[in-house]
């Protein structure tokens, strides 16, 4: 699957740091997901055989990013699927019944059953960290910086 992607990796002595870019929040979340998945494997040729819907809510945008990316790691391990195609439908905020702001994401990810003979794996991503996490509005949209625990 050919997907537009926009992120860069920044060297970290033990782990991996990336900055993802996007014109909208949806795009920056999608690119962060692709940065995470490309850290695990070369996913350029992964076909969307099995689809997983992801719907999450939490207290702020940074937590939403960690929860969203953590969900990808969970699906990879538990569903034994090499994920490669990401579609982020909506990222936004709303008020809960107590009037508190909550952030939500609706997305779908898809991929193929893990096949080490076919998939070009690079490294295991153990977890998504909160270390120095930032999601910021820029002149051209948004950027998100995340450290992955390898």
């Amino acid at each position: 699957m050919s997907q537009k992607r926009d992120f860069e990796y920044i060297d970290h002595v033990a782990d991996m740091r990336f900055i993802a870019y996007g014109g909208s929040l949806e795009e920056v979340f999608k690119n962060a997901a692709l940065a995470t998945l490309f850290a695990i494997a070369d996913i350029s040729a992964i076909q969307p055989q099995t689809v997983f819907e992801i719907e999450l809510e939490t207290i702020n945008l940074e937590n939403l990013m960690v929860d969203f990316l953590s969900e990808l790691l969970f699906l990879f391990d538990a569903e034994e699927t090499t994920l490669g195609v990401v579609s982020v439908k909506e990222v936004g905020s709303k008020r809960d019944e107590n009037g508190e702001e909550i952030w939500f994401i609706n997305a779908s990810v898809s991929g193929e059953p893990i096949d080490a003979s076919k998939h070009d794996f690079k490294t295991e991503v153990k977890a998504i960290t909160y270390n120095k996490i930032r999601i910021e509005k820029t002149a051209s949209g948004f950027e998100a910086e995340v450290v992955l625990d390898l």
Binding site: E8, V13, A78, F121, T123, I128, N131
Partner: protein, 492 residues
């Protein structure tokens, strides 16, 4: 498009530190507003160039957490982490202090075990190609790997509760194995109900796998004995072949940490704790949130002990088949198994008073001295074995807990060599094939899933393990007993 951008390595940190004595440097409280205690780095002049300013800042950040005692400490293998440094040690007061998953890390009870054999170097080296190949085939490793080993949900619960003891009872080991592990191969008080469904789902298929990255299984031999008395107590002799296993709690531990961090990130607001980095999320040690995490962490720790036990059992099977002798005849006895990512409830002396504290060791091993009641009886006269792996091309060490560990480092020592170069940079600047060839010339056979892993884990991306161990040895924190030279390495 993705690309690699290298960061400037700001390796001169001396202006941030004051020298306390040989190998001890202090980060004064004035370094950052809000530090409750100073920071302490245990580093030689030689290792001073191996750390950067961001690492110093991470040590200082931990000093800002409530109830921290004495110092926020960093062992000589310290390097940049993702909240705590790797090589960090911090103890927190039971009443005023906190428990933080960041001080343990995602790979709960990542640790090292060392199995002895009665084989001599000469009996093993000619067969390294076959032995490493057989081990590589037997023990699942690498990204996405899963073994033939299957556990039911009930068995997983048993593993969460009883660690290596469960694995031995399930047939993966011999009776003495668990008796030779730190805390007998399990932490008491684990509560499986505090482990979520997701962690179970991630942990089940990965049970009995080595993982990837820096995890390894290594065949080594002892080339030098420094302390004949301790070596005799540990049953070590020159030329003896040993097997070292380094891995952790796999997806189970990673998900336990992820899930509880989510809760604790909200708890910091509830308890009005200011954390300088969200990864240092924590809660008062006695709060429900902190205790829930701690009791789930114990499940992760126990899973890891069981995991290393199972992998050691398969290693024995490979050796038994190859040499045509059983475990007993081959002398394949576990020396010890240490955790190096863990939080422990321990008694320490603080300001001349005995106190119960939560010690967080994030990339640091316990190193309890001779006579300490928590040192296994068979080692109590000499001190607890501390296992310090080197890199693929540099020696590993067996140390013994030293007389100064309790007063200087809350009974802790380094855990390995410590990285100095990122994986991206390593892959860009070196070829795995040429490193494999260079290691082969040194008499080290490496069997890895792919060559890129060898580049990422090349000896030059690590500090020299001898330099690291020399610091804890000269401080009397953990003292050299024996040196181990790698001859065969399995990498995931």
């Amino acid at each position: 498009m993705s690309n690699q951008k290298n960061e400037k390595n700001e390796s001169d940190v001396t202006d941030l530190l004051s020298r306390v004595s040989d190998n001890i440097w202090e980060i004064p409280k004035s370094h950052t507003y809000g530090m409750n205690v100073p920071g302490r780095l245990f580093l030689s002049e030689k290792l001073m160039g191996t750390i950067d300013r961001e690492t110093v800042n991470q040590v200082a950040n931990v000093a800002m957490l409530p109830g921290i005692l004495d110092y926020s400490m960093a062992m000589p293998d310290v390097h940049l982490g993702y909240g705590f440094t790797i090589g960090g040690v911090a103890a927190f007061d039971e009443e005023e202090g906190i428990i933080s998953p960041g001080g343990v890390g995602f790979d709960i009870n990542c640790g090292v075990r060392l199995m002895k054999t009665n084989l001599q170097k000469e009996e093993a080296t000619p067969h390294m190609k076959t032995l490493t190949e057989n081990l590589f085939r037997k023990i699942p490793s690498g990204v996405g790997s899963k073994g033939e080993f299957k556990v039911t949900d009930t068995e997983l619960t048993e593993a969460f509760l009883n660690g290596a003891q469960w694995a031995v009872e399930a047939g993966y080991g011999i009776e003495n194995d668990a008796k030779n592990c730190e805390s007998l191969g399990f932490m008491e008080g684990a509560i499986p109900e505090k482990v979520g469904t997701k962690a179970r789902k991630r942990g089940r298929p990965q049970f009995g796998t080595l993982g990837s990255g820096n995890h390894f299984l290594e065949i080594q031999y002892i080339d030098k004995i420094y302390d004949p008395v301790a070596a005799a107590a540990y049953g070590l002799t020159e030329g003896q072949v040993t097997v070292m296993i380094h891995c952790g709690s796999r997806g189970a531990g990673h998900q336990i940490c992820t899930d509880h961090l989510q809760t604790l990130n909200q708890a910091v607001k509830k308890y009005k704790i200011n954390v300088p980095d969200m990864q240092l999320a924590c809660a008062p040690a006695k709060s429900k949130e902190a205790q829930d995490y701690f009791n789930a962490m114990k499940c992760g720790a126990n899973y890891a002990w069981a995991n290393r036990q199972i992998i050691m059992h398969w290693t024995r099977e490979v050796f038994e088949k190859f040499y045509g002798k059983d475990t007993d005849a081959l002398g394949m006895e576990l020396l010890y198994d240490v955790a190096h990512n863990i939080a422990k409830y321990e008694t320490h002396e603080v300001d001349g008073k005995k106190q119960d504290v939560y010690v967080h060791r994030k990339g640091a091993t316990r190193a309890f001295p001779a006579g300490h009641p928590e040192v296994l009886q068979q080692y109590r006269d000499v001190g607890q074995p501390a296992l310090i792996p080197g890199s693929m091309g540099t020696p590993s060490f067996i140390l013994k807990g030293g007389p100064n560990s309790m007063s200087l480092t809350f009974g802790s020592a380094c855990h390995g060599a410590g990285r100095v170069m990122g994986r991206g940079k390593a892959k860009d600047s070196m070829s795995g094939e040429s490193i494999r060839d260079a290691l082969a010339k040194q008499g080290i056979t490496v069997r890895a899933e792919k060559a890129s892993v060898i580049a990422e884990e090349a000896p030059s991306v690590y500090k020299n393990s001898s330099d690291v161990v020399d610091v804890v040895d000269s401080l009397g924190v953990a003292q050299k007993v024996a040196r181990l030279i790698p001859i065969g390495v399995i990498k995931g």
